[in-house]
Symmetry: C2
């Protein structure tokens, strides 16, 4: 099937649809609950409390393959991470594919393999799915939607209303590597040092922190719109100010130089494997030290504090000691990064 391409017939519900699903999709996604015939999957959810967490994300990244990942890995990580920052372990996931006529079977296979591998690593089960095919030029290779169902750890209490002045803001690693990896691939910018997307499931990192006796009050993964969007949303909702120290933001040379060359503000760049935590200041050092023991948290740092000054705003104290507002990004920075 290596040289075959997807045809419209693969999406019309007949013989070819069935062949595509049975021979290719179920080859990689073969959870016992994911069978061909039923219209929905029956799943068992442990009753820690009455509540379950439910999230959805569509992935339209261009290009489909990039250093450090691909749309399949992204589609699993994105949804697992959305649940993780709510304190929930992803248990079940759906996988809905919109495929452009002409996509190579070999590319689809590579994406499915990547989904299966990433799902396997995170322990999430893909239990239901859907496949549509649209005409050439009506989609961009493939779009993937994943929905996730998870159960929140019983001891976790997260909420913006818990944030208080003096709380610490912790970032788990270097921001912006995902968006820069996408830009470099899309624009064919070659760079001596290998810059890879940070795309990764952050759940182990997050749950290792939550298993310590520390008071984490809120978490978010700074994806589209980067730190600037995440921090502005937090400030605007919790009605306090946020003060970020530029010197404390973990950076690597490739990110620093690429931002200088391309004129990007690292604050606006998307990550797909980082987490921002707001925590009680007294626990911040312990959290950072726990994070640094995890491969995804080696460069974790306290990057700022919640303040009473400038409620609803984000202030950056630059390396020169000056101050500037970090605004919510406006206009078009770079579309199709996730």
């Amino acid at each position: 099937m290596k040289d075959e391409i997807i045809l419209l017939a693969h999406g019309t519900g007949g013989k070819q649809s069935r062949m595509l699903i049975e021979n290719l999709i179920l080859k990689y996604l073969h959870d016992p609950a994911l069978r061909f015939l039923p219209d929905s999957a029956s799943i068992k959810v442990p009753r820690i409390n009455d509540e379950i967490c439910f999230t959805t994300d569509s992935f339209v990244v261009s290009p489909l393959f990039f250093p450090g990942g691909d749309i399949g890995k992204l589609a699993i990580c994105g949804t697992v991470n959305d649940l993780a920052v709510c304190g929930a372990q992803a248990l079940y996931m759906s996988c809905s594919l919109i495929i452009e006529e002409g996509l190579r079977f070999s590319e689809l296979e590579r994406i499915l393999r990547s989904m299966a591998t990433t799902a396997g690593k995170t322990g999430v089960r893909i239990v239901t799915g859907d496949t549509k095919v649209v005409e050439k030029g009506k989609c961009d290779g493939i779009f993937i939607n994943t929905c996730g169902i998870g159960v929140r750890k019983s001891h976790v209490s997260l909420g913006l209303e818990r944030i208080k002045p003096g709380d610490a803001i912790i970032l788990s690693g270097v921001p912006g590597m995902h968006e820069l990896a996408i830009i470099c691939t899309r624009e064919n910018i070659r760079f001596k040092s290998s810059l890879k997307s940070d795309c990764a499931p952050i759940k182990d990192l997050v749950f290792q922190v939550l298993s310590e006796s520390v008071d984490v009050k809120f978490m978010r993964d700074p994806t589209r719109g980067g730190l600037a969007t995440t921090l502005n949303e937090i400030a605007s909702e919790c009605k306090f100010g946020i003060r970020i120290y530029e010197s404390k933001i973990p950076l690597v040379k490739s990110v620093k130089y690429l931002c200088e060359i391309l004129g990007f503000d690292v604050m606006n760049l998307a990550c797909e494997g980082r987490v921002v935590m707001i925590a009680k200041y007294d626990d911040a050092e312990k959290i950072v030290s726990t994070m640094r023991k995890h491969p995804l948290g080696r460069k974790a740092n306290i990057i700022g504090v919640i303040t009473e000054r400038f409620p609803g705003k984000v202030i950056l104290e630059t390396v020169n000691g000056s101050e500037r507002f970090i605004m919510m990004p406006s206009g078009r920075q770079l579309p199709r990064i996730c």
Copy 2:
């Protein structure tokens, strides 16, 4: 905002994304659980048993608006129906939009209003969502993914393994109206009688039947691939034959004549508001009479039986008394119908 169009900036996670979500999307989808900031929704699922039903569907119908419905109505009905045929009441739903740059705000508003109205009628709550924007020419107006979570009625026991020779096959109404309505709109075929899509939520019809003391063994909504696909899948999985009586298939003139003119086999045409039930033959008349009391079931009929003859095959006894196999549709009939 009527004359405005969607820009790429509406999908980059910054100020415009927030405006689109707050000013337009949350205007129509305003469940208390659906808030801007959290990465997932917390939902309560009643403890009928440990099991919940989980399903996903992406909708890529072209055109977006058609007689009897639009992509928004379809996106709600499709997922509510997938749960209903599993005997489950849809409780929660996700809504994930992939929007093409250039879509008019007024069109998006019309779609969102339709989603809200249909969701309201079926009692399902839209609790989580996602919005992406892709460049002009990389999508076709809008694609919508919905995932649904439901709880199965406790007394319902459905399964292909329960099907036995002698069981009746019941169809709730005229097949093919959805696909024909799409064809006529797409190809600009004008027809004197008004042919509308059958797109509708079938859950009330289904649950009225299930509330009677009748033995329903399996249900499915014959969408893509129509009755031919649904019946062939059932026959092939349950290892019995299926005998359908052409004279018993409910038809209306417009469907009959359009099929003759366009050369379509009504068995292959998709429905979006019909259900096929396999039930104990003794209960079939009672089921049909219950269905006929419901507006969506007025033309319900017993259209066939499960047989020992030709295991795995579907036989049609034509109005002339001859017999022919109904095959699984092959090749491209009509793409993008849902």
